[in-house]
Protein backbone atom coordinates (compact mmCIF):
# COMPACT_ATOMS: atom_id res chain seq x y z
CA UNK A 1 0.00 0.00 0.00
CA UNK A 2 1.19 3.48 -0.81
CA UNK A 3 1.16 5.62 2.31
CA UNK A 4 0.67 9.33 2.42
CA UNK A 5 2.39 11.60 4.95
CA UNK A 6 -0.55 11.66 7.30
CA UNK A 7 -0.52 7.87 7.59
CA UNK A 8 3.15 7.95 8.38
CA UNK A 9 2.63 10.56 11.10
CA UNK A 10 -0.06 8.44 12.71
CA UNK A 11 2.37 5.58 13.12
CA UNK A 12 5.52 7.52 13.84
CA UNK A 13 5.55 6.78 17.56
CA UNK A 14 5.01 3.05 17.05
CA UNK A 15 7.57 3.06 14.28
CA UNK A 16 10.13 4.54 16.67
CA UNK A 17 9.25 1.90 19.27
CA UNK A 18 9.44 -0.79 16.61
CA UNK A 19 5.97 -2.07 17.33
CA UNK A 20 4.55 -1.79 13.80
CA UNK A 21 4.20 -5.03 11.85
CA UNK A 22 6.71 -5.92 9.17
CA UNK A 23 4.49 -4.94 6.26
CA UNK A 24 3.71 -1.48 7.64
CA UNK A 25 7.36 -0.96 8.53
CA UNK A 26 8.28 -1.68 4.95
CA UNK A 27 5.64 0.75 3.63
CA UNK A 28 6.81 3.46 6.02
CA UNK A 29 10.42 2.95 5.04
CA UNK A 30 9.57 3.13 1.38
CA UNK A 31 7.77 6.41 2.02
CA UNK A 32 10.66 7.80 4.07
CA UNK A 33 13.08 7.12 1.25
CA UNK A 34 11.53 9.77 -0.91
CA UNK A 35 9.81 12.08 1.60
CA UNK A 36 12.14 14.53 3.25
CA UNK A 37 9.34 16.07 5.29
CA UNK A 38 8.53 12.81 7.04
CA UNK A 39 12.20 11.95 7.41
CA UNK A 40 12.77 15.27 9.11
CA UNK A 41 9.82 14.73 11.43
CA UNK A 42 11.08 11.29 12.32
CA UNK A 43 14.59 12.59 12.88
CA UNK A 44 13.53 15.50 15.04
CA UNK A 45 11.22 13.32 17.14
CA UNK A 46 14.02 10.82 17.68
CA UNK A 47 16.37 13.59 18.70
CA UNK A 48 13.90 14.74 21.30
CA UNK A 49 13.77 11.23 22.72
CA UNK A 50 17.56 10.98 22.81
CA UNK A 51 17.68 14.25 24.65
CA UNK A 52 14.94 13.15 27.05
CA UNK A 53 16.79 9.98 28.01
CA UNK A 54 20.00 11.93 28.63
CA UNK A 55 20.47 12.22 32.39
CA UNK A 56 21.65 15.80 32.08
CA UNK A 57 18.32 17.00 30.74
CA UNK A 58 16.28 16.04 33.76
CA UNK A 59 18.62 16.29 36.70
CA UNK A 60 17.97 15.36 40.27
CA UNK A 61 18.21 18.13 42.86
CA UNK A 62 21.56 18.37 44.64
CA UNK A 63 21.57 16.21 47.76
CA UNK A 64 18.39 14.38 46.80
CA UNK A 65 19.80 10.91 47.23
CA UNK A 66 21.50 11.71 50.55
CA UNK A 67 18.31 13.14 52.01
CA UNK A 68 16.32 10.16 50.78
CA UNK A 69 18.57 7.62 52.45
CA UNK A 70 18.85 9.64 55.64
CA UNK A 71 15.10 9.81 55.93
CA UNK A 72 14.87 6.10 55.24
CA UNK A 73 17.49 5.32 57.89
CA UNK A 74 15.47 7.33 60.39
CA UNK A 75 12.36 5.40 59.49
CA UNK A 76 14.16 2.11 60.02
CA UNK A 77 15.38 3.26 63.40
CA UNK A 78 11.90 4.29 64.47
CA UNK A 79 10.31 1.08 63.34
CA UNK A 80 12.92 -0.79 65.34
CA UNK A 81 12.02 1.15 68.49
CA UNK A 82 8.35 0.43 67.86
CA UNK A 83 8.95 -3.26 67.52
CA UNK A 84 11.08 -3.48 70.68
CA UNK A 85 8.35 -1.68 72.64
CA UNK A 86 5.80 -4.34 71.85
Amino acid sequence: MKLNCKHVWEHISEYIDDTVDAKLREDIERHLEHCEICSAILDSTRNILVLTADDRTFELPVGYSERLHERLAKEMENSEKDSTKE
Binding site: I37, I48, L49, D54, L72, M76, E80
Partner: protein, 208 residues
Protein backbone atom coordinates in the same frame (compact mmCIF):
# COMPACT_ATOMS: atom_id res chain seq x y z
CA UNK B 1 16.67 -8.57 32.99
CA UNK B 2 16.01 -11.89 34.61
CA UNK B 3 19.05 -11.58 36.81
CA UNK B 4 17.96 -8.15 38.08
CA UNK B 5 14.67 -9.66 39.15
CA UNK B 6 16.30 -12.63 40.79
CA UNK B 7 18.72 -10.35 42.58
CA UNK B 8 15.85 -8.15 43.74
CA UNK B 9 13.75 -11.08 44.87
CA UNK B 10 16.72 -12.19 46.96
CA UNK B 11 17.15 -8.73 48.48
CA UNK B 12 13.45 -8.44 49.26
CA UNK B 13 13.42 -11.80 51.01
CA UNK B 14 16.42 -10.81 53.11
CA UNK B 15 14.97 -7.42 54.04
CA UNK B 16 11.77 -9.11 55.13
CA UNK B 17 13.78 -11.65 57.10
CA UNK B 18 15.33 -8.82 59.09
CA UNK B 19 18.28 -7.46 57.11
CA UNK B 20 16.60 -4.11 56.86
CA UNK B 21 19.67 -2.21 55.76
CA UNK B 22 19.52 -3.94 52.41
CA UNK B 23 16.45 -1.94 51.54
CA UNK B 24 18.80 0.98 50.79
CA UNK B 25 20.45 -1.14 48.14
CA UNK B 26 17.14 -2.36 46.78
CA UNK B 27 15.83 1.10 45.98
CA UNK B 28 19.07 2.72 44.84
CA UNK B 29 18.58 1.86 41.14
CA UNK B 30 15.12 3.46 41.24
CA UNK B 31 15.82 6.75 43.02
CA UNK B 32 15.83 8.64 39.78
CA UNK B 33 12.68 6.99 38.53
CA UNK B 34 10.85 7.75 41.78
CA UNK B 35 11.84 11.40 41.73
CA UNK B 36 10.98 11.93 38.07
CA UNK B 37 7.64 10.20 38.47
CA UNK B 38 6.77 12.49 41.34
CA UNK B 39 8.03 15.52 39.49
CA UNK B 40 5.99 14.68 36.40
CA UNK B 41 2.90 14.89 38.57
CA UNK B 42 3.57 17.68 41.08
CA UNK B 43 5.93 19.74 38.89
CA UNK B 44 7.71 21.19 41.90
CA UNK B 45 11.18 20.24 43.05
CA UNK B 46 10.60 20.42 46.79
CA UNK B 47 7.26 18.60 46.62
CA UNK B 48 8.77 15.93 44.40
CA UNK B 49 11.66 15.45 46.83
CA UNK B 50 9.34 15.11 49.82
CA UNK B 51 7.04 12.86 47.85
CA UNK B 52 9.94 10.64 46.87
CA UNK B 53 10.89 10.21 50.54
CA UNK B 54 7.31 9.35 51.40
CA UNK B 55 7.17 6.87 48.51
CA UNK B 56 10.27 5.06 49.66
CA UNK B 57 9.09 4.92 53.25
CA UNK B 58 5.74 3.66 52.18
CA UNK B 59 7.39 0.99 50.04
CA UNK B 60 9.53 -0.01 53.01
CA UNK B 61 6.54 -0.30 55.32
CA UNK B 62 4.52 -2.30 52.84
CA UNK B 63 7.25 -4.42 51.37
CA UNK B 64 5.62 -7.58 52.74
CA UNK B 65 2.61 -6.91 50.52
CA UNK B 66 4.75 -6.93 47.37
CA UNK B 67 3.77 -10.16 45.67
CA UNK B 68 6.07 -10.26 42.74
CA UNK B 69 3.25 -10.49 40.20
CA UNK B 70 4.41 -7.07 38.97
CA UNK B 71 8.02 -6.02 38.73
CA UNK B 72 9.39 -4.27 41.78
CA UNK B 73 10.00 -1.14 39.69
CA UNK B 74 6.37 -1.07 38.57
CA UNK B 75 5.16 -1.55 42.11
CA UNK B 76 7.37 1.31 43.26
CA UNK B 77 6.19 3.53 40.38
CA UNK B 78 2.58 2.85 41.37
CA UNK B 79 3.27 4.01 44.92
CA UNK B 80 5.03 7.10 43.57
CA UNK B 81 2.09 7.91 41.30
CA UNK B 82 -0.39 7.59 44.14
CA UNK B 83 1.77 9.76 46.35
CA UNK B 84 2.03 12.37 43.60
CA UNK B 85 -1.69 12.40 42.98
CA UNK B 86 -2.38 12.77 46.69
CA UNK B 87 -0.08 15.77 46.83
CA UNK B 88 -1.58 17.27 43.74
CA UNK B 89 -5.09 16.98 45.15
CA UNK B 90 -3.98 18.64 48.34
CA UNK B 91 -2.24 21.43 46.49
CA UNK B 92 -4.82 22.31 43.88
CA UNK B 93 -8.22 20.88 44.40
CA UNK B 94 -8.75 17.83 42.30
CA UNK B 95 -11.81 18.99 40.42
CA UNK B 96 -10.05 21.75 38.58
CA UNK B 97 -7.16 19.58 37.48
CA UNK B 98 -9.21 16.61 36.34
CA UNK B 99 -11.56 18.84 34.35
CA UNK B 100 -8.66 20.44 32.62
CA UNK B 101 -7.17 17.07 31.84
CA UNK B 102 -10.35 15.62 30.50
CA UNK B 103 -10.73 18.57 28.20
CA UNK B 104 -7.16 18.24 27.08
CA UNK B 105 -7.62 14.62 26.15
CA UNK B 106 -10.25 15.42 23.55
CA UNK B 107 -8.74 18.51 22.10
CA UNK B 108 -5.75 19.35 20.11
CA UNK B 109 -4.19 18.85 16.79
CA UNK B 110 -1.83 15.93 17.00
CA UNK B 111 0.02 16.37 13.77
CA UNK B 112 3.73 17.04 13.82
CA UNK B 113 5.33 20.21 12.59
CA UNK B 114 6.78 19.75 9.14
CA UNK B 115 10.35 20.89 8.76
CA UNK B 116 11.15 22.18 5.36
CA UNK B 117 14.84 22.90 5.63
CA UNK B 118 15.87 20.19 7.98
CA UNK B 119 19.35 18.79 7.81
CA UNK B 120 20.42 15.91 9.95
CA UNK B 121 21.07 17.55 13.28
CA UNK B 122 24.71 17.42 14.31
CA UNK B 123 25.08 15.63 17.62
CA UNK B 124 26.86 18.56 19.16
CA UNK B 125 23.75 20.67 18.61
CA UNK B 126 21.94 18.41 21.06
CA UNK B 127 24.53 19.40 23.61
CA UNK B 128 23.24 22.93 23.75
CA UNK B 129 21.88 24.01 27.10
CA UNK B 130 18.99 26.00 25.63
CA UNK B 131 17.68 22.90 23.97
CA UNK B 132 17.62 21.00 27.24
CA UNK B 133 15.92 23.89 28.94
CA UNK B 134 13.35 24.16 26.15
CA UNK B 135 12.62 20.46 26.47
CA UNK B 136 12.14 20.71 30.23
CA UNK B 137 9.70 23.57 29.79
CA UNK B 138 7.83 21.81 26.99
CA UNK B 139 7.46 18.62 29.04
CA UNK B 140 6.27 20.60 32.06
CA UNK B 141 3.63 22.25 29.90
CA UNK B 142 2.19 19.03 28.51
CA UNK B 143 -1.27 18.21 29.87
CA UNK B 144 -0.91 15.90 32.87
CA UNK B 145 -2.21 12.71 31.28
CA UNK B 146 0.34 13.00 28.49
CA UNK B 147 3.19 14.17 30.70
CA UNK B 148 2.85 11.19 33.02
CA UNK B 149 2.89 8.63 30.25
CA UNK B 150 5.79 10.39 28.56
CA UNK B 151 7.76 10.50 31.82
CA UNK B 152 7.30 6.81 32.54
CA UNK B 153 8.01 5.65 29.00
CA UNK B 154 10.61 7.96 27.54
CA UNK B 155 12.24 9.39 30.61
CA UNK B 156 12.22 6.42 32.93
CA UNK B 157 12.08 3.85 30.19
CA UNK B 158 9.36 1.61 31.55
CA UNK B 159 7.69 -0.66 29.00
CA UNK B 160 4.20 -0.01 27.65
CA UNK B 161 2.89 -2.82 29.85
CA UNK B 162 4.58 -1.49 32.99
CA UNK B 163 3.41 2.04 32.30
CA UNK B 164 -0.15 0.80 31.86
CA UNK B 165 0.01 -1.12 35.13
CA UNK B 166 1.52 1.76 37.07
CA UNK B 167 -1.05 4.27 35.83
CA UNK B 168 -3.98 1.87 35.92
CA UNK B 169 -4.88 2.39 32.27
CA UNK B 170 -4.82 -0.01 29.32
CA UNK B 171 -1.81 -0.42 27.02
CA UNK B 172 -3.73 1.05 24.09
CA UNK B 173 -4.24 4.29 26.00
CA UNK B 174 -0.53 4.36 26.85
CA UNK B 175 0.35 4.17 23.17
CA UNK B 176 -2.11 6.87 22.12
CA UNK B 177 -1.03 9.24 24.88
CA UNK B 178 2.62 8.62 24.23
CA UNK B 179 2.18 9.29 20.54
CA UNK B 180 0.39 12.55 21.25
CA UNK B 181 2.94 13.63 23.83
CA UNK B 182 5.80 13.02 21.45
CA UNK B 183 4.10 14.86 18.62
CA UNK B 184 3.27 17.81 20.88
CA UNK B 185 6.89 18.00 21.97
CA UNK B 186 8.14 17.73 18.41
CA UNK B 187 5.90 20.60 17.47
CA UNK B 188 6.99 22.73 20.38
CA UNK B 189 10.68 22.10 19.90
CA UNK B 190 10.96 22.42 16.17
CA UNK B 191 11.90 26.11 16.35
CA UNK B 192 14.78 25.22 18.67
CA UNK B 193 15.90 22.30 16.59
CA UNK B 194 15.66 24.27 13.41
CA UNK B 195 17.90 27.13 14.42
CA UNK B 196 20.65 24.59 14.89
CA UNK B 197 20.56 23.72 11.20
CA UNK B 198 22.03 26.07 8.66
CA UNK B 199 19.27 27.97 6.91
CA UNK B 200 18.68 26.46 3.50
CA UNK B 201 15.55 28.28 2.58
CA UNK B 202 14.04 27.14 -0.62
CA UNK B 203 16.35 24.19 -0.81
CA UNK B 204 13.59 21.74 -0.44
CA UNK B 205 9.91 22.33 -0.40
CA UNK B 206 7.06 19.96 -0.77
CA UNK B 207 3.50 20.21 0.39
CA UNK B 208 2.69 17.39 2.82
Amino acid sequence: MRTTETHEAGLIARVLAGEKELFHELIRPYERMVYLTLFSIVKNEAEAGDGAQQTVISAYRHLASFRGDAKFSTWLATIAINEGRKRLRKAKGAAEESLKEQAASHEGDFTPAPLTDWREIPLEALERKELREALRVAVAELPGIYRQVFALRDLEELSVEETAQALGINPGAVKVRLHRARIMLQKRLVPFLKTTAPARRGFFRRAP
